[in-house]
Symmetry: D2
Subunit: 291 residues, 4 copies
């Protein structure tokens, strides 16, 4: 997997550079703190327990460095938290947690010359006029084609100006003002498993911009390869988990209280218990208030 380019978008990639730690690292770290002996039969249970109960620091000695080739606007977007709109007011804010552990090195274009590589989208989305939550796929093919052509032409002209003025002696930092944000650049990012998962959680969201989601999917291939069991825990307890507020829980508990466990087909309750495990099934019933 190391140094293998996983293709993303029309000209980009993600690539594993180096890593440390395995799916077993959280186990030995946790066992140190309680001086317990290794016990293979309980490994999966312990790992799951650690993630579910948010002992995430035990997953922070699993670290990897990834190289990305990506358009500038995606790079800047990876630092931001996307959101839906509020009654026509639309907001986007930084997500601090995400940036904490990263030590990126970025190609800057202040010194080196950028290559003539721009991202041209395969599909151009329309504004979602109903809820303004972002984009939807309803733009006619002709408008899309026109957009792509005009964008490529604008990029080309800008790049020509960039090249011409560099030749005139204009410094690169001024020359690059002609280059649009779909220009490709390269970056290396080092992060631990917990931080990569924070990025995945935000960017694998169906509402995330398709280009960011494409990079999140590329990164997830690397994470699954390196730490398959830990990544599964992320999917179960974080990526696909759903949170209910206090008031929502009140409604849910009222709803659930109209049932008794005995109302259900024993085959089905047995299946639930198997899926979740006996203990978690019990604690689940308590959470929603079924007796």
């Amino acid at each position: 997997m190391i140094d293998k380019e996983i293709k993303v978008l029309d000209k980009g990639y993600v690539k594993l550079i180096s890593f440390m730690g395995s799916d077993n690292s959280p186990l030995s770290d946790a066992r140190l703190s309680s001086q317990a002996k290794p016990d293979i039969k309980r490994d999966d249970g312990l790992r799951s327990y650690l993630w579910e109960n948010e002992h995430k620091s035990t997953f922070q000695s699993m670290i990897c460095q990834i190289e990305l080739k990506l358009p500038l606007f995606v790079l800047h977007q990876l630092h931001r938290h996307r959101t839906v709109s509020f009654d026509g007011l639309e907001i986007e804010s930084s997500e601090e947690g995400f940036r904490k552990w990263f030590s990126p090195n970025e190609q800057s274009g202040r010194y080196s010359k950028f290559e003539d590589e721009f991202y041209i989208p395969e599909k151009v989305l329309a504004q979602d006029t109903k809820n303004k939550q972002g984009s939807v796929d309803t733009l006619d093919i002709n408008s899309q084609a026109l957009f792509m052509t005009e964008l490529a032409t604008h990029n080309e002209y800008g790049y020509e100006m960039y090249t011409r003025y560099l030749k005139f002696g204009v410094s690169k930092e001024y020359g690059r003002l002609f280059l649009e944000p779909n220009l490709y650049t390269r970056r290396r990012v080092t992060g631990d498993f917990v931080n990569w998962c924070n990025l995945e959680k935000l960017r694998l969201d169906p509402h995330a911009q398709p280009e960011s989601r494409a990079y999140a999917q590329g990164i997830s291939e690397i994470l699954k390869f390196l730490w398959p069991k830990s990544y599964e825990l992320f999917e179960e307890y974080t990526l696909h988990a759903v949170k209910f507020s206090r008031t929502e829980m009140e409604v849910l508990q009222y709803l659930a209280s109209t049932y008794r466990l005995s109302d259900f087909d024993p085959a089905i309750t047995k299946e639930w218990e198997t899926k979740l495990g006996k203990k978690r099934f019990e604690s689940f019933l308590i959470k929603i208030g079924i007796s």
Copy 2:
């Protein structure tokens, strides 16, 4: 509220030193990003929306500095993430997120002499032998009293040694090796609303050690005073929220799918809709799969 000591435990306190920002700070920050105009009628809705959708950086210009007088062991515990046990294996790990924004100044005892002040618990808990999750309240009164007396005596002797050896010329950093972790110290901590809430979430938990919980409660009085509306959002969407894993959601959705909304008393569904608001009620029904 500034400089007012809120008593905690037998000899401790928490005290607000200074602050910036109000419940309206997140609103003006969010409206900057979309260049929207103020609109008082929608203030509560927007603030709630921002917190619920995790636009927490808009709450990070609400900052306060708090002074704590607390036993050393509580101070060290505030840096740690408590946990329940796993089949007899018991683990405790750091919670990184918590420490991120704090800039504490602490009385150290390396230079200044500690005063003769030790925390003596009012109630000494027993080990929870069933699930080893921590402590329970089943120790007989006599054992408790004996414990308190012996602890006070041990502290007194240690403090006597500490004083004697300082007089002999032993440096304070060696002298304090005689002092147990229930010694009181003072500390100032500066944090933003989001970080204080992280601490509250961990320490207001019923399983948290009683002494830490007492400080979290003292801090919550300050937070509620400064930012009552934001604190309410923390309670609704974070402190008392409940998360369900992917598999738990499958069971929950199966359970809910056996209902139709029309099965319920319209007065009750009306009440739910009022509590949650129309939009959130709709999205709640979608989350659990009732049509």
Copy 3:
């Protein structure tokens, strides 16, 4: 000073939004840790001592929020550490320390429409062909004028495309691909004194890009207004301080060892002692090896 716009570049500004803490905050924090009493006569000495000896956490309860209107490329540059070149190889990397304490909210243009405001430089610098350290001011006036006109034209055309495609229904996140990095945006940043000083140190450097330096100068006006005595310490011990490596110190000490203090005019040594204070003058002589 609050809400007062300090003009920067052709259309930008910096503006103080809110703050907490004064030049005296580090004093009371430090005195807590040693339980010392206030002593006005020693205030300046203590503050100076704290900064000089890198007790910077005592300056971290001085916090302010600043709003910036700035071109996108300056915004992105504020996250990066500038450097000179190494034998023709030119590098630019992130400076992690800088980003640590900031909680920015940024206007994104994914939702709100950008206004037609672009930064056009007053002076366009040439590439420094000798040492490639960045830019020098040797470009002829005509080339500069041509550059400015062409850039403005390119911006105008891009903005026209942006507007046209938004009308066609293209979503804002695709539309903005037509907009160059000299587009203006707004951002609010909250940071403590230590972090603002880190930014100042990097961006007030004579080698920093002129546009970034202009914002650093605007910010320094706010910092000097809020905390004049602390800012002076930053200037004395950090901004204008010079570091010598181990080997450089060896050379320096050899050089200095050829002197005795008595070789100098007593009036001059007296002046030095007054400037530095007796104690610091003594420790300075020891540092460089004059006896």
Copy 4:
């Protein structure tokens, strides 16, 4: 080196658990940003250039996890910044930079029982009564011996109480209130090279408490083993570097201005130039103002 215990103090150790990255990592990261080709002859020069010019993020993909067995008071001290006194006022504050990248897991004693292992110092230092800067080595042997015996007795009695009350059923979190801060515990810390160097800079200082310095020395053996060339740069440009304030530089430049380079023995100036390299020697002369 992995899993090898490096002995520290009477019963402690440091031990490398895992790592990633080599002395060449900063080179390939830096070359990515400028798309330059590898060039072995310039490797040492580039690495040195990166560190000297504070492009430290290129050293942040060199990461290692270290296990420490250490007394509780040393553990807590590793989080704090030591200082000398100011006219009798003595201060100690946190050093935020240090904590940034660490994800420690610590044995807590809330769940697991502590072993009967306490640190007894070999040498007990006296308070430095002259400048109160800490400790000096002037305590008579008899007082030292008495201190050690009394401390061991006090520890023993405390541990006996601890054991007795655990048997009575007192929970571990209360039981451990009997245990002094010279109790040994274990911890694992994961950090990158830059952060480990921050710790080394603070704790290798001759004024640091001897016990902390002992751990810093143990850690330096690991760092030197893993990244010998990078560690040398840390020694040259950071550990043994000396910083002069603006006013000190004025004095220094006055002093130096009385010389011309031609005043010195050419053999000596040749030697300087060789030690520092031609470029750095030139920039050194400019820094101190010799022409």
